[in-house]
């Protein structure tokens, strides 16, 4: 019960707790170099650093990561058109006074070298690119004595601002993953009762079979709630940058909706497995597959079949609420509808399957 969230969150924290992240994805970007437009303060060798920056982006080191679609496009609208038509994944804007700020110009000493990153709506691309660009700018800074570290301002076209590590992005997936495990726990619990014939003994008492099965399900729901709180508390203790005013009630509601699916699938599994060992093995395979296809720990929209997996919708909704405070019906409404329908359907199928095995009265 405790092991899964503690183990996974700890692993994620140690792997991705800081910003040093090597992506395996390739992004097509456009670079807008506003630094070149400034004609003032020539004594600070302005523009050179931004040219270094562009050179770095197109260097061999990043050629497997970044493909430059257009450079020195000075009109943001043109770049946004490219972004909207999905010809590029992101726009990187080197801001005015980037060079001055990097060289600590007296007239700009209160400013940091700023780079903006804009994506259409994919927050994970935003996160990954932020990490890459920070790395590039700082690699330039380190060559300049006393240069400040860059500030990366990330946003989507929808106006979302991003300031998270990959660890933050993994947390919603881990929270939902904790509840996936409850499917295993339920299937194993019922299989153990069947295997030991305790289920037979209980079913020869006057207590209704529905009551017996409900009591086992409720036990697992309590386990799910405890897992949820462990995952949330531990992620907070390890420094997740969730929004200060995040609505945990709605996240809890989403988690419990998802838990309906876990319980339903656990019941379906329990109705046909013969032993607890079988239940453990099969449920592990199902859970693992669902986490992978359901994109608990990867960029949304990349896995084939993710649209049919409840994890996709639960993780998406929790990410939106937890990291971006997006709680509107237009944002998470479909997630809630899908989770409700999927959960109720699997739960009904689970109860019917169980009923067929033991004539339930």
């Amino acid at each position: 019960m405790i092991a899964y969230p503690v183990l996974l969150i700890s692993m994620a924290f140690f792997a991705y707790g800081n910003s040093n992240y090597n992506t395996i994805d390739i992004f097509t970007i456009t670079v807008i170099n506003n630094d070149l437009l400034d004609e003032e303060n020539p004594e600070f060798a302005r523009n050179e650093t931004s040219i270094f920056f562009c050179d770095a982006i197109s260097s061999k080191e990043y050629q497997n990561t970044l493909i430059i679609e257009g450079i020195n496009i000075h009109v943001l609208e043109t770049a946004i058109d490219l972004l909207n038509s999905l010809r590029i994944d992101a726009i990187v804007v080197i801001n005015e006074y980037f060079s001055e700020a990097l060289y600590k110009s007296p007239t700009h000493e209160d400013k940091l070298p700023i780079v903006d990153i804009i994506t259409k709506d994919n927050i994970l691309i935003l996160a990954e690119l932020s990490l890459i660009v920070v790395e590039i700018v700082n690699s330039i800074s380190f060559n300049i004595t006393g240069a400040p570290e860059a500030e990366i301002q990330s946003a989507t076209l929808g106006g979302l601002y991003f300031d998270y590590t990959l660890f933050d992005l993994l947390i919603p997936g881990i929270i939902i993953g904790s509840l996936s495990i409850c499917m295993s726990l339920l299937a194993i619990a019922i299989a153990k009762e069947k295997e030991s014939r305790r289920m037979h003994r209980l079913m020869t008492t006057p207590v209704k079979r529905r009551t017996i099965i409900t009591s086992i399900v409720i036990t697992q729901i309590i386990t799910a709630i405890i897992q949820f709180f462990i995952a949330v508390l531990l992620s907070q203790l390890l420094g997740t940058h969730a929004l200060a005013n995040v609505n945990w009630n709605v996240i809890f509601f989403i988690a419990m909706l998802y838990n309906l699916s876990s319980m339903g699938m656990g019941l379906i599994l329990a109705s046909f497995v013969k032993s607890a060992r079988n239940a453990a093995l099969i449920s592990f395979i199902i859970t693992f597959t669902m986490m992978m296809i359901g994109e608990n720990y990867t960029i949304p929209g990349e896995m084939a079949g993710s649209a049919f997996i409840p994890n996709t919708y639960a993780v998406d909704a929790v990410r939106n609420i937890m990291l971006f405070g997006r709680i509107g019906w237009d944002i998470i409404g479909f997630d809630i509808i899908f989770l409700s329908l999927f959960g109720m359907t699997t739960l009904i199928i689970g109860l019917v399957s169980f009923n067929r095995k033991y004539a339930m009265t």
């Binding site: 305790r198 037979h200 003994r201 079913m203 020869t204 006057p206 207590v207 209704k208």
Partner: protein, 317 residues
């Protein structure tokens, strides 16, 4: 054969098929009077436990009818569960609970009053010799002690009908005797007890009435004495012959004796015969055998012999 009194259990052509080919129970008719210790005797896989599962409302029958105390097992399952106690063959107990807690659990499920089940549990634990260990976790118990807890959980609510499914399986002789005495006590209280076993001794000692089941069908029924009587009265003598002779050479000589009922071979060197007053006349039998014999034994008819005569094989085969 059946006494015409109210039958507390009555089945008619009760069947349970799993799939198209597996006929676990194939048309069983039972009429069991109240207060009987009724035994279903048969080898593993004969259909005993499946019959019990149907009578205890766990499994719905494929066809046929069954009434427990007048209640239809299909329609009145809840009422039936109020008057039965079931001791499954497996140790269906919670290892992380104490013996007392395990018994309380079942008592609570039967909605017994706290004062009643506490008193009753103490009494039962005492009878099974478990009082000293009653508050230890069952996982620390020996197998025999767990088996006894398994039995107690079936009777805590003082049911009218108690189903014991192989209650003494794998028990040491001492624990087996404790369990048998305990079961007999319920028989004395006019409770109806349904026992399934493949242990002939258990069936012989405990039963008022028994049926022998094989391949889902009843192949013989009656009291133990009646069933053994169907094989004829007399002693059964078994012996082995020397290695250079074959049983075929010996059997015709024995068959010549007028007091011999039957002679047959168990294997090439082992001969078994049934003879009236066989023990007293054993010297006459020995004189007809032209070779040395060894491993000689003499015994009375057993239920094993009944099963053998009906099916051509032994119960434990």
């Amino acid at each position: 054969m059946w006494k015409k009194i109210k039958y507390i259990i009555e089945t008619h052509q009760l069947r349970k098929y799993f799939g198209k080919n597996l006929k676990a129970v194939d048309g069983i008719n039972l009429r069991i009077p109240k207060g009987t210790l009724f035994t279903l005797l048969g080898p593993n896989g004969a259909g005993k436990s499946t019959t019990i599962s149907m009578l205890t409302t766990i499994l719905p029958p494929t066809s046929g009818t069954a009434y427990i105390s007048g209640f239809d097992i299909r329609k009145h399952a809840k009422k039936i569960r109020q008057i039965i106690g079931v001791c499954p063959q497996e140790l269906s107990i919670y290892g992380n609970l104490t013996a007392r807690e395990n018994i309380y659990l079942i008592a609570k499920m039967h909605k017994m009053k706290k004062i009643d089940y506490k008193e009753r549990t103490d009494e039962l634990l005492g009878k099974m010799g478990l009082t000293d260990r009653a508050d230890d976790k069952v996982s620390k118990y020996s197998f025999g002690m767990r088996r006894r807890v398994n039995v107690l959980m079936a009777v805590v609510h003082d049911p009218e009908i108690i189903f014991f499914d192989e209650p003494s399986t794998s028990l040491d002789p001492q624990s087996r005797r404790v369990v048998w005495d305990f079961i007999k006590e319920f028989q004395d209280k006019n409770k109806t007890i349904i026992l399934t076993t493949h242990n002939m001794e258990e069936a012989d000692i405990l039963s008022n009435y028994l049926v022998i089941i094989d391949h889902g069908r009843i192949i013989a029924n009656g009291t133990a004495d009646e069933l053994k009587g169907t094989l004829g009265r007399g002693d059964i003598i078994t012996f082995k012959i020397n290695s250079y002779m074959h049983s075929g050479d010996v059997i015709p000589r024995i068959q010549g004796l007028d007091f011999i009922d039957s002679v047959y071979t168990l294997d090439d060197k082992t001969i078994e015969l049934r003879a009236k007053d066989g023990l007293r006349r054993i010297s006459e039998i020995m004189e007809t055998i032209p070779t040395r014999i060894y491993d000689l034994s003499v015994r009375r008819n057993s239920l094993e012999d009944v099963f053998l005569s009906q099916t051509g094989r032994r119960l434990r085969d």
